[in-house]
Symmetry: C2
Subunit: 171 residues, 2 copies
DNA sequence: CAGTATCCTGTCCGATACTG
DNA sequence: CAGTATCGGACAGGATACTG
């Protein structure tokens, strides 16, 4: 996208994409969540070109997902540590991973999520915190929020329902 | 990315990105989940250039997320309907939306998720289906799966732990 | 209405070389 | 080790015009 028509979009999904819409951004976030903080760690594990890494790192800092922290003065050197917003990107990554494992890993999963204590493999599912009910396209629908404008309200209000799925999505 | 170095990546996240790594792909999927099936519906609601729409639609069909269904013979016209894989992209979209609403919507959320029956606003959280415990970067760690190769196994096995977060991510 | 055909621009990214 | 500088290629996406 020419990154103009979508800037300042009101859609929260588009807004997220404004920050992490590039491949490297997401992969860098993945590494950061795995514990990487140094330029060189990202460079090595991702095999990313250094100039590209600089650019993506700067973008992530600007977007407020990474924080540059000086750990040495001469010459100035920084570590890149996740902010709260960056850490909270975790569920998105897990959802993406789960989906990828399910549909695009014919030989089986190469990375999974395991209980840090028991080591048992997790099965991530999205549920409503309050009711505990699984969130599917059928049981929970998109609706206008407090900040929705008239146009959006109209679209989401009088909209066609998602066609009945034979079986709906979960986890 | 030049879309070459990542092709055939073994990382499930990278693999997902190979299919939906472009903005429009994700936004089209969002529309499809909202019920759109026709070229013109996507065209209008997304305000996307027609040639671009064609390209993205084809890519999504090739990736197995959308299915072209002929609904008229002369001239040939198709509807684009979600496959199971496409429908299962829903949790990713919800995670992305939740994250965007939380951090990038200063004026409040414009789109939220609501219980289809009661209309009550949902709070999506990722939990382990079996134990019901919330999935955070601390409680559940990435681990090598059955199809992991030696390199990956080494990385995930003897890896540094995520630095202790003051408060961890959830929902 | 549902696209296809052309042309063009922006920019993401890679390769490589260089520096304190 | 942690970057910066420069150059070039690929392609996503925009604008617009055209067709059955």
């Amino acid at each position: 996208m020419q990154r103009t028509s979508f800037k300042e979009s009101r859609c929260p999904i588009a807004r997220s994409l404004e920050r992490v819409g590039e491949w490297w951004s997401i992969l860098i976030l993945r590494e950061a969540l795995l514990g990487s903080t140094r330029f060189d760690e990202f460079h090595q594990t991702l095999k990313i070109a250094p100039n590209t890494l600089t650019r993506r790192l700067n973008a992530l800092v600007d977007a407020g997902l990474l924080e540059r922290r000086l750990y040495q003065e001469h010459p100035p050197r920084h570590a890149y540590v996740l902010t709260q917003a960056g850490r909270d990107f975790h569920p998105v990554l897990v959802a993406l991973m789960t989906w990828g494992n399910r549909y695009f890993a014919p030989e089986g999963a190469s990375v999974v999520l395991a209980d840090a204590v028991t080591g048992r493999r997790a099965q991530p599912v999205l549920v409503d915190r309050r009711s505990g009910r699984p969130i599917t396209a059928r049981t929970f629908a998109l609706a206008p929020g407090p900040a929705a404008d008239r146009r959006l309200r109209a679209r989401l209000g009088g909209r066609r329902r998602p066609r009945p799925a034979s079986r709906d999505s979960h986890d």
